[in-house]
Symmetry: C2
Subunit: 201 residues, 2 copies
């Protein structure tokens, strides 16, 4: 009994300290503005994180828009769901670039979907714009880097942007308020497990 | 012109090689079963990744269930959205544990929501079960580790599970098919930017 009380007391003191730390951070964080978030790295969960943020946004009654670079041709569950909630999707229709093997065609497709992205990034009615897999467009030089950076930088003050994809270039990371690097520790696919409908796509 | 053609040719060869690699991996991955995914680490995007996967699942017309450890008291946008699509939520009502400073109360709350989690994990009608922030329950010894591992291990064969939260214990990582470690490279909060409705919660 005495031991249990000690344990309770220890837990209470530790939790109290943690609470003070969190409260101090919350008190310090007072700037209110839209944020830019980059979710990059080679691990699973980047696009789903972007789409989870869109779901969160729409769940609060805000408007969100999605631009999908690369994954456009897939039958994605998240798209079916979010289109029911009036989330507009601009989709690059060519699929994975290594399937097309046509650089000129890819560039034309990238530029075309980027035109739509620019409209979302200039429109204050959107609380959130997801630029899914944008990183590859800069990594492959499919889009003009400075133009992309400027469009993100000059977006409406209250608009947030989420950029996903492997290998985000340095300038995207510098511009971002939040950068998460998702590292692959293990992947089912490499153990021979087939990509699963409703989980992987 | 010649240079441009060379560039096209180089791109085509590179893309062809990449395609062969991807195709070979796809051909190898033939096991069809539900997977267990752990999204851990100190960076932003773990819970949103879990909820994005739920949105994807529901978008395909499958059933999914959510168990929220810790974040229960928040007014979450993702919950409002997903409940509209008949996703049941089991929520631990105590909020962040450092706010309560009551270990015995936290344990009781954890055990109560775990009872609901076990029901989802035994029910083959659920294609996906999200155990959001479960990692802390094992890290703090709020739940019996072996019981949790067994329930996940013995779930229906076609059911997938996503576990999120910092500091996933070794046994969770070992049991998982896919493990992603989300590293914080930068966080808006630490630069004084307030957590944003529709983005951070």
């Amino acid at each position: 009994m005495g031991k249990t009380m000690d344990e309770q007391e220890r837990h209470k003191r530790k939790a109290q300290k943690q609470k003070e730390k969190v409260d101090a951070n919350v008190a310090r964080a007072q700037i209110e503005k839209g944020v830019m978030i980059v979710v990059t790295g080679n691990g699973k969960g980047k696009s789903t994180s972007g789409f989870g943020t869109v779901a969160r946004c729409v769940g609060h009654g805000y408007k969100a828009a999605v631009v999908q670079f690369i994954k456009g041709k897939w039958d994605c569950g998240e798209r079916s769901l979010l289109e029911q909630h009036d989330v507009p999707f601009a989709v690059m229709g060519t699929g994975f670039t290594w399937n097309t093997q046509d650089r000129a065609g890819d560039i034309a497709a990238a530029e075309s979907v980027w035109e739509q992205a620019k409209k979302f990034l200039a429109d204050p009615q959107y609380h959130l714009v997801l630029l899914d897999e944008l990183t590859y467009m800069l990594g492959y030089d499919y889009l003009d880097k400075q133009e992309v950076l400027d469009a993100i930088k000059n977006r409406p003050e209250n608009q947030s942007v989420v950029v996903t994809g492997r290998g985000a270039v340095r300038e995207l990371r510098e511009l971002a308020d939040t950068v998460s690097e998702v590292k692959e520790e293990k992947h089912a696919f490499k153990a021979g497990i087939k990509a699963r409908k409703g989980v992987d796509w």
